[in-house]
Amino acid sequence: MALQEPVLTKRIPTPPFGDFSQRKLNSYEDFVATGGYAALKKAIDMQPSEIIDIMKASELRGRGGAGFPAGVKWSFLPPQDGKPRYLAVNSDESEPGTFKDRMLLDFDPHILLEGIAICMRACQLDTTYIYIRGEYHHQAKVLNKAIDEAYANNIFGPNSIMGKINDREPRCFVHRGAGAYICGEETALLNSLEGKRGWPRIKPPFPAVAGAFGRPTIINNVETLAMCGPIIDKGVDWFKTMGVARPDGVPPHVPASYGPKLIGVSGHVNRPGVYEENLGITVREMIEKYCGGMRNGKKFKSCVPGGIAMGVLSTDQIDAPLDFDIGKKFGCLGLGTAGVIVMDEDTDMVAVARNIVRFFSHESCGQCTPCREGSNWVYKTLCRIEEGNGTTADLDLLLEVSGSQGAMPGTTICGLADGTNWAIKTILNKFWSDFESRVSVSTIAGYSLPVLA
């Protein structure tokens, strides 16, 4: 069933409820006039533990890629000990294909600030750092202005309507990154926040126990926090009418895919953009109903379901529903950020693989050798195949490297190397003939390969 009313896009005109051209920045006054901060007032009347119980019951799953239930994450915090506790908002949106948080920050920053305030109250966190990527210059300015408005209207600050949290005045700051994809990984984000290079940390300890500055820290994505306000306002039952329910016979501890989701579609479609739909909508519906069909009337070839680390769908998987189970059912890593990149029949999948691996090779932080060296060698191999100098042995090697736990996957601190290999593995397996037709030489005997720099 299609989404009945816009939730996160309530103030951001989006087809079919409005038009992209009507989008404008919502100020504090605009936000309050349309029911904003009512959920926060409701949350202030509740006990912190009640808010966490509601979030747990809603089964809201993190919208930043991993899909971990937000309420469960919030309940991991240790009891208060009188020292500071932090909220770090992950707005380092750098995964190719993902541009959903940007839309929220551009047009409705207060929906994020309301979610932040609710989370601070529920988890008793006194200081929030919104880690925004360095390239979002405009968004950082918009956000800073919105935070000033929020301070002026006593959402944060010494006279906050929330009173003292953790015996301190609630504070909220923007912290700008400086161009590093890896800082979207939660522990790398914390290191970057502390003024160090963005190197992921070994877990445990998990950030909820020892995060920023060694203190308990909750890290959530922008969209996850933005969803808190509507859930507190309208309730768990309302939230669970949307999305995909848990199938019969599945135990209740397995999280389902409830709720609406911002889905960013880019690539070869007529009307790319960020849309809001219930989880479970198919790729075909997204393309045909929202994006005006394929560009130039071409046929669908493949798509990335949610950021390039998730791998690709094959041509016959166009009816795959976009929910958190997509990974298990359709041979990719998962839903990720629901940044769908559509590719038409003329797309060269070898070039796609080369582009994706170049991204990971460029953005590898350099901490773990298998990722730093491996991604670069895989990139060089794919370049060679693209230039027409590849061998069938190269294909076997790529499959072996990307498919073996202990080669590149599973040997690194964070998931970047796993993402790289899921992308290679799925593209190779699902578009094998594209690669096979490019490797004309079956043996390297008597054939001189170009020198690899």
Partner: protein
């Protein structure tokens, strides 16, 4: 690539009398940035941003001044500054053109735009024009995939770039 190391062992550090991190900037950071964090080192990224905004890039002397100001070792500030792509450890042109090269932009034809810019400015990515006006850079995803191909010129994002409007964009820059 973040992990390429610098030859800091042998390099000569150019210095000047006048500090890059002057008293005015120090006072501003001390008042507005430092109180946000529980320790001074956490202000490294904002301070690097502020100095780069004022000077245009980050000379080694400035890194040392920042280290002294924040109570870190100069090597710690350098460690941070070399990791992030947005910090310039050598002078850049007046306008830096960052053209996105990630998948959505490549699918939507960023290569033809890059060729056009290269031909027009007569430089390769990573280089600066002789008059010091433009620096051209390839950059990974700018988070504007729905309006690909896209690029940043300094802090301004240009969306839906075409070989035609790139001329106008470049010509409009003084």
């Amino acid at each position: 690539m973040a992990w390429i190391t610098k030859n800091s062992g042998t390099m000569q550090i150019e210095t000047r009398e006048e500090p890059y991190l002057d008293d005015e900037l120090k006072a501003e950071i001390e008042a507005n940035i430092i109180p946000r964090y529980p320790d001074r080192r956490a202000a490294t990224l904002p301070t690097l941003h502020a100095v780069q905004h004022k000077v245009g890039w980050l000379p080694t002397q400035a890194l040392k001044e920042i280290a002294d100001f924040l109570g870190s070792a100069p090597s710690e500030v350098m460690d941070t500054a070399t990791f992030y792509e947005e910090y310039w450890l050598k002078p850049k042109g007046k306008y830096v053109i960052w053209l996105c090269q990630s998948i959505s932009c490549e699918l939507m034809g960023r290569d033809t735009i890059m060729s056009k810019i290269k031909a027009k400015l007569n430089i390769e990515p990573g280089e600066t024009t002789e008059d010091g006006k433009f620096t051209l850079m390839n950059v990974e995803c700018l988070g504007s995939c729905g309006t690909a191909p896209c690029g940043l010129v300094n802090e301004k994002l240009h969306e839906n770039m075409t070989v035609d409007n790139i001329d106008q964009i470049l010509d409009s820059l003084e």
